[in-house]
């Protein structure tokens, strides 16, 4: 029996009501989470405002007198971001090829690669930073290792997803021409997804610059080290100056990144 217009309208209306209910439920969940974390406690905001105002007051004007001492750490941070990205890419690509179901050689390897990526993702880079500082000492090196290893978890997952969504038709054509599995990857999969992989990599580099500033806090070199030192001395004028320097570098790095991405389209 073919459906009637009224039947379809009823079904469509029911779907609309279900959708509305789902959105309302989601909104209620978000409100509950905000309430649970104390967001609706107006008193705490009221109490916090004067302290915030005082901090802001101490931050102005920023104190740039020590700027010469920050040049080297900023360069270190930049170097850390590039080195961390390079290591992350080299490690991510092979793992991603194992973790993408359309090119993975065996389901067991697929599972193992995915588990490894989840594990690396789940260890925050700050924790990795603490571990590597303990292992190889203070400086930029532990920072680079922490950035790279944590990023393999993220970058590898994004790479694998890009590879997984590659158009299967050229892959079929390459197979039909007698290409080996490795040739399928190099000549049918990678040419399709290279722009996406480059995209992910450049985003990750931008992120690494910001993240390496944080890693300095646990002793892993770079401008973050200077930042935590100024915070410990309660010298908020210097803190704001360093933050402004980091902001300026982030703006430059992001602009460079988006210019690169446009070139690679």
């Amino acid at each position: 029996m073919s459906p009637t217009q009224d039947g379809i309208l009823r079904e469509d209306g029911a779907a609309l009501r279900r959708g509305t209910l789902a959105v309302l439920a989601l909104l209620a969940l978000c409100a509950a989470a905000l309430a649970l974390t104390g967001f609706f406690d107006a008193q705490r905001f009221a109490d916090g405002l004067p302290a915030l105002a005082q901090l802001a007051d101490e931050m102005v004007p920023p104190d740039f007198t020590r700027w010469r001492a920050w040049v080297r750490p900023l360069l270190d941070t930049l170097a850390m971001s590039v080195a961390g990205t390079a290591l992350a890419v080299v490690l991510s690509l092979p793992i991603a090829l194992l973790a993408a179901p359309n090119v993975s050689p065996h389901p067991l390897l697929l599972g193992a690669a995915r588990t490894l990526l989840s594990f690396l993702r789940s260890v925050p880079e700050i924790i990795m930073g603490i571990i590597f500082v303990a292992a190889v000492g203070f400086g930029a090196l532990p920072g680079v290792l922490a950035l790279a290893l944590h990023s393999v978890g993220m970058v590898g997952k994004f790479y694998a997803e890009a590879i997984e969504h590659a158009d299967p038709r050229p892959i079929e054509a390459a197979r039909a021409a007698g290409a080996s599995p490795a040739q399928v990857v190099t000549h049918a999969v990678l040419p399709q997804v290279l722009p996406q992989l480059a995209d992910v990599t450049i985003y990750r580099w931008e992120y690494h610059f910001r993240a390496s500033a944080v890693l300095g806090i646990v002793g892993a070199g770079g401008i973050g080290f200077e930042l935590i030192a100024a915070l410990r001395l309660i010298d908020y004028a210097q803190v704001s100056a360093i933050l402004l320097c980091i902001l300026a570098c982030v703006v430059v790095v992001d602009a460079l990144g988006s210019a690169l991405r446009r070139r690679l389209k």
Partner: protein, 252 residues
């Protein structure tokens, strides 16, 4: 509705002339076919008629009035349905939802945040019933075959309650039998509703079968303008450049 183009021409920024200055009168209520090979300027001319392509020279008059200002263009587009070669549906949205996008011209941007009215849904279902797809109304558009998707495209244009119907190679990506069925449906709807129709095609047999008036285009120029009966071998070779052999029965 009657449409006139006056020395309408399109030259792309790279210097390519897609359409040489063309003056045409398209009569109300007739089924006009633009015939020509790919790259002849059919799509460019068609898309000028609803402003998807901005002409670099000349102008368009609708019912004797030149189109001026965004409000006039919006009103003209609302009254103009368009069927695309690649259907241009949203695959993960239901058939009904896709058809309802044909109603957007009737709503303000603010009104759009609220669901479509029941009367409009009913109008969309009536359009789907006309193209024979009522039973697919709640299916996802990407679950339909190519011919069915194009019928959804026709329903989306119909729900606009258009007076002008444009179709840009509506059957080019369909197999011959399906192509003929979809063309027949489009022709039957336009004729029975008295719509002015401008349809671009590259198949001579379909143009002959459905075109009341055939405008042949080659390299951005009008090289033929007449009825199906006037479309002889010489005219076809003017349009396609080389002589084209035509099966006997098509002359019968």
């Amino acid at each position: 509705m009657m449409i006139r183009t006056e020395a309408l021409g399109v030259t792309y920024p790279n210097g390519t002339m897609a359409l040489a200055p063309t003056s045409l009168d398209i009569a109300e209520g007739r089924f006009t076919v633009l015939l020509g090979p790919s790259g002849a300027g059919k799509s460019t001319l068609l898309r000028c008629l609803n402003g998807l392509v901005r002409p670099s020279e000349g102008r368009i008059l609708v019912a004797g009035e030149p189109l001026a200002g965004s409000a006039a263009w919006r009103a003209h587009r609302r009254a103009t349905g368009m069927v695309f070669q690649q259907h241009q549906l949203i695959g993960r949205v239901s058939v009904l939802g896709n058809v309802l996008t044909g109603r957007l011209g009737y709503h303000s941007s603010l009104r759009t945040l609220w669901p479509f009215a029941r009367a409009e849904k009913r109008r969309a279902l009536e359009a789907l019933e006309r193209v024979g797809l009522l039973d697919k109304a709640l299916a996802r558009a990407d679950q339909l075959s190519g011919g069915q998707q194009q019928r959804v495209g026709i329903a989306r244009a119909l729900v606009q309650q258009p007076r002008l119907m444009l179709a840009d190679e509506p059957v080019a990506s369909l197999d011959p039998a399906t192509a003929e069925r979809v063309m027949r449906l489009l022709h039957e709807i336009c004729t029975s509703d008295g719509l002015t129709a401008v349809v671009s095609l590259h198949q001579v047999d379909l143009a002959r079968k459905f075109g009341e008036r055939i405008i042949g285009l080659a390299r951005g120029q009008v090289v033929f303008d007449g009825t199906a009966a006037m479309l002889d071998a010489a005219a076809i070779s003017r349009i396609y450049g080389t002589p084209v052999t035509i099966p006997e029965k098509e002359f019968a």
